[in-house]
């Protein structure tokens, strides 16, 4: 087991196409995630749908986080500290299934992504390590 926190965290950056939800991300994205969590309440969903920008402005989150939410740019939201389980409240409110939301973070369309899953999913081959190239 890795006991050195620095070595432990450094390895996470070597995984292609992945943002591991570390303490640093949890800290940066705290209010972004709490905003997303607020959409679990029907009354909040109604207010959000009535005016997204005004609803976002009630939260102490950065302008770039707000813009990423308005753009539904999930990769950007992950970069800015969002966690997918919290962000799922946003696409659930939009009525978008999890798999479709996932597809928007890849270079595929939703039908292409769905077909990849039916064909056995994305292979780990070549997707394990940036440095290792495997």
């Amino acid at each position: 087991m890795t006991r050195d926190i620095h070595a432990y965290l450094a390895e996470f950056d070597d995984i292609p196409g992945t943002r591991v939800y570390t303490a640093a991300r949890a800290r940066r994205g705290y209010h972004l995630n709490q905003f997303a969590m607020s959409l679990m309440k029907p009354a909040n969903r109604d207010r959000w749908k009535a005016g997204e920008r005004a609803y976002l402005d009630e939260w102490p989150i950065s302008e770039e986080q707000k813009q990423a939410v308005l753009d539904r740019d999930y990769n950007r939201m992950l970069d800015l500290g969002g966690n997918i389980y919290f962000l799922s409240k946003i696409f659930s409110t939009d009525g978008i299934p999890f798999a479709e939301a996932c597809s928007t973070m890849t270079d595929m369309t939703f039908p292409e992504y769905r077909q990849m899953m039916l064909d056995g999913g994305r292979s780990p081959e070549g997707n394990r390590s940036i440095k290792g190239g495997n």
């Binding site: 196409g17 389980y85 999913g121």
Partner: protein, 279 residues
């Protein structure tokens, strides 16, 4: 005395709950998944467990980003299915076993596991989907449940070794409870899946099956699998499989496999299911 008679491993994909709730379990897409649980549903009817210690993770439902317990045990009398954004699942409330849960909590703390105690919470698909998979659609769940929620979202999550050791401590705790109870332990979540980023959709049939192999018999090799291996091989959400190790640890030195099932895909996820008994 209470005793742990069996362990069950199972994925808890929310789409499976949707399939049950909308009567779609016989559809072409879902049938191969649910058919793999037929054996277990019949077996559970015969086994009639009194209590299930149900190890799962909360998906931003009961716990928000504010408080992040590594290991939390539900000591309440009753839990409601959570509204995860589209209304609560139409399944029965879950009855707790507060006496056993408080007993386990006290024993674990004396045994150096500093548990978070939860009196009231709603439980999300992580807990209700496995109940549906194992018991179908009864009017009332046929057993009581002790929810045990694990942080597998914010890193560092607990190590595989720590999870296994927690399972060992749960076994000791259950066996010191004076009432005669048939207790099962379920480890849920997984198998390989990644729900985020450009690598979303990663699945790893070979790794998942090797992992299931490691839960059968007397090997303890799975204790030492580091987080980075789960992340690289099974996707960012595959780390949920550490919760299966709590189940395995609670079954003692050696296990026998009674039933095993694996299917790809369910939404973004590989489905794995394992029924074990202590030898």
């Amino acid at each position: 005395m209470a005793r742990i008679t069996a362990g069950v491993g199972s994925s808890h994909v929310p789409l499976l709950g949707v399939a049950v709730d909308q009567g779609k379990t016989g559809d072409d897409y879902f049938d191969p998944i649910f058919a793999g649980y037929d054996w277990t549903r019949a077996w559970e009817k015969a086994e009639k467990p009194d209590v299930v210690v149900l190890v799962y993770n909360d998906h931003a439902s009961a716990f928000d980003a504010n408080i992040i317990p590594t290991f939390a045990i539900g000591c309440g009398e009753r839990y409601k299915p959570a509204d995860e954004g589209w209304g609560p699942r139409p399944v029965p409330d879950i009855e707790g076993h507060a006496d056993l849960a408080w007993h386990i909590a006290q024993c674990l703390i004396l045994d150096d596991f500093d548990m978070t105690i939860i009196n009231e919470m709603d439980v999300d698909h992580g807990l209700t989907v496995p109940l549906s998979m194992m018991f179908g659609t009864p009017e009332k769940w046929p057993c009581k449940v002790v929810p045990l929620a694990v942080n597998v979202v914010t890193y560092p999550v607990p190590s595989g070794n720590r999870c296994w050791a927690l399972g060992e401590a749960i076994k000791r705790a259950v066996e010191s409870f004076p009432e005669d109870l048939n207790v099962q332990i379920w480890g849920t979540g997984g198998m390989s899946h990644q729900l985020q980023g450009p690598r979303a959709g990663l699945l790893n049939r070979e790794w998942d099956n090797r992992f299931m192999d490691l839960l059968v018999g007397d090997t303890q090799d799975a204790r030492a699998i580091p987080h980075i291996e789960y992340l690289r091989e099974t996707g960012s959400e595959g780390i949920e499989m550490v919760m299966w190790l709590i189940m395995r640890g609670a079954l003692g030195k050696t296990t026998r496999c009674l039933h095993r099932h694996y299917h790809i895909p369910c939404s973004n996820t590989a489905i794995g299911h394992l029924v074990l008994e202590p030898v």
